[in-house]
Amino acid sequence: MLRYIVLLILSSSFFMSFGQSGLSPKIASYDINLVLDVDQKKVFADQKLIWRNPSDKEVSDLQFHIYYNAFKNSESTFMKDRGVFDGLLSEALEEGTGWARTDILEMFDEAGNDLTENMTYIQPDDDNEKDQTVLRVKLENPVQAGAIDTFQLKWVSKIPKTMPRTGYNKEYYFMVQWFPKVGVYELAGSRYAEEDQWNCHQYHSSGEYYSDFGDYKVSMDVPADYIVGASGVLKDKQEKGARTIWTYEVEDVIDFAWTTSPHYSVMKDKWEDVEIKLLTYPNHEHCAPRFFQSMKNVLAYMDEHVGAYPYPTITIVDPPIHGLFTGGMEYPTLISSLSFCFFPKGVRTPEILVTHEFIHQYFMQMIATHEVEEPWMDEGFTTYFESRVMNKYYGEYNSTIDFAGIQIGNAEFNRIEFLSSDNPKIAAGNTKSWEYKHGGYGTIAYNKTAMWLKTLEGIVGIEAMDDIMKSYFEKWKFQHPCGEDFTAVVDDVVRKRHGDKFGENMDWFFDQVLYGTVECDYAVKSISNSKQAQPAGFLDGETVVALDVEKLKPGQASKVILHRLGEMILPIEVLVNFENGTAKMEYWDGKARSKEFVYEGEQKIISAIIDPEKKIDMDTNYLNNSMALEPQATGIRKYFVNFLLAAQEALQSITALI
């Protein structure tokens, strides 16, 4: 009896704290009790939603994401975006196990009004009536301005098999976007809202996150041999015969994810006060040090360069091979990576995924941007910091691959991914996730954004960049900033650190890199050291002054000509090297189509280099950034010898057939 009283006090105190103290505004909190039926592949749930109306007007409806309905039929917007017969989708759908759904069996408000009949599916993005991923519930009693109301839902979900990001396969379950989640009620003036409104998009194949902060308490009733990992901290574990109930709690987050499998090995480590938990399969246990070390690296780096990680835990899920579809995902305090038992150390996929997915705890989780409307704000920022972290701990030129003589750095890999894409100009950086109709989501939202952030770092300097990121985090953590909120922070910091060196604001930069599609390419066109004579000819009308060949001197007029080949205009540094070993750094605003630097004197120019420190990551071609007077004989010979040896080896290998 005493135990029940203690539990009652504990659970009521959990919700009494709601809306009061804490890191975040706590708009939407959840208390969910669920039963996992592993035979039917279903979840049965009782869900309590505690919602605070952030507006100063009453709200007469609620809107929910019902993500699992994306897998309800082939006509959903998700399926149409992705293509039913695309890769992993088709197999599970053909055998029938891929289809899934969530049915809300009943919903009551605090006063006991039955809202079950007030539910309708809406399609705010595309009017696709077959899409049932957004549910609108008309309230009997509107939620008053600033008031907190509680809603009680009972629902059942059929879990999909091997769908993107979520579902089950064999005995492995990865449960994300799994419960009816209320949308964000945006206030006029915040982000792009002109009036108070629901922002609740349909589930698209790219982009997931945009939710309000709150506290979660989730109790998961699973078969006794299953091990559960979830967002937050394990508060209670009760064994009841053939079943075990695992209760996890987490505060000030925008979402909740969980996973279960009877085969998990649970391993633990620590960084300062943060417990790092790894859920992996037994034959991957030897990879644990790689997961833990990379997690410690990224925790330390983000703490130093952006801000503190305030949660007591972070859980890494390392899916089994049949759970590949869930690898490389990010949810509050729970991320998934990927490893194979045979991964060589120099192939750093596990480290990159841990790093990348953890950085999302900052960009999309704590700074709760809208991944669907502005994917660049979470994927791009995350990719930018991924390179910084990986390059710091594993080396600038081998942080992605260091294997079999091949070395590739993270930032350089990112740059080439963008430049080698089919069409780097396919869309502007601020494109909404579902508007990347013909490709470019990955290369623009991830790669290009990371490149222009690195370019910004090059232009304003690393100290100013750190200042920008720290200020952005401090100002916008536990809120929902939009792109303009970020550029305003950049303007403030740049003005504070550089005055008007870069103009009144940085619009000239963002108009090109974020809102535009132009590409950047500066080139050294020529170097000349022409001899210059004294003036000659009919200089004063009648008498001819002869050309005095003796007075021709080399290097009297040395000249470097630069070209701007791309449409993008950026301030450029140019290093000019002279024969006597001296060098001069020149600055060009980069605006004209061509530019020359002329030097009068005895010294010959021997080479010129645009952007010698490679600050402009956006430059599409580094090869034409420099020119020397003399051919680079040693380098040319190196590539010749390499090519010759490769040709000889290829010829010799082919004789194996003879």
């Binding site: 091979i321 030129y397 080439i416 950034n625 020397a628 040693t634 380098g635 040896l645 040709a647 082919i654």
Partner: protein, 295 residues
Amino acid sequence: MRSVITVLFSGLKALFSNWEMWLLVYGVNVFFALFVALPFNSFFKSSLGNSLAVNESLNRFDYTFISDFLNEYGLGFSQVLNQSYFVLALFLLLSVFLMGGIIDSLLGKRAEFSFKAFWTACHHHFWRLLRLTIYYFLFHIGLLLIFVQIFSIGGLSPFELETDADVISRVQWVGGFYLFFVALIMMFQDYAKVKVVQTDERWITNSALAGIGFTFRHFFACMFLFIIQVLFFVFMTFVYITIRKQFFMSSEGTILLALFLGQIYLFGRMGVKLLRLSIAGEHIRVYKEETSKHI
């Protein structure tokens, strides 16, 4: 066992006493490789020979340099590569052509290597060895297809696998058997080639079958000799890679050293390839002598 060792040493002896031929094979390789590498060199020089990026990339595997080169000059580069397919086809034909002379010389009919006899044998055996090469090429393709099928039993989808260790064990088992059969076909081919040159019959079927028959009858000896040669190759490759890993081609000296080491390695590889034929020829000869002694 004693006769197998004898075969190995007399094979080595035959190879070294025909060193002119070994040099010739090496020379042909260099000549054809230059046909590919020289156009690349002039293309490379003219497109970015004056860019400082070329020398900057000396001290590491420069992914940015390589990718920018392919992005900017990929079209010109692929034209150079396309030309090399033609060179490759010519090289293959010439290699088949040389095979007759090589085997003829290795069979030790003459006291000294003779280029005249070598070219005559090349010419004489060319069409039959070409047919044999085509047949064995088809065998290799067939074998590969069969093993791809075997590898796919139970599905290749990762979603069907219980653990990734399944993939490893499948690669180990199927790959192991595949390599065994590849070795077997190569052995058949070596002995068949020798038989084709030795018997000098118009139709190659009997010789090819005789080669297979010989391999089966002397399976362990053949396998032992084959493994010895594979070990030669593995050892050489290991030593080469180990030394090459010690330095970057970052100066004129190291570039020259890499070129020199590469040539030694390739020369050695060609020697091992020739040794296989030499040993096959000696093996058949020694066996013949032994059987005639018994008679």
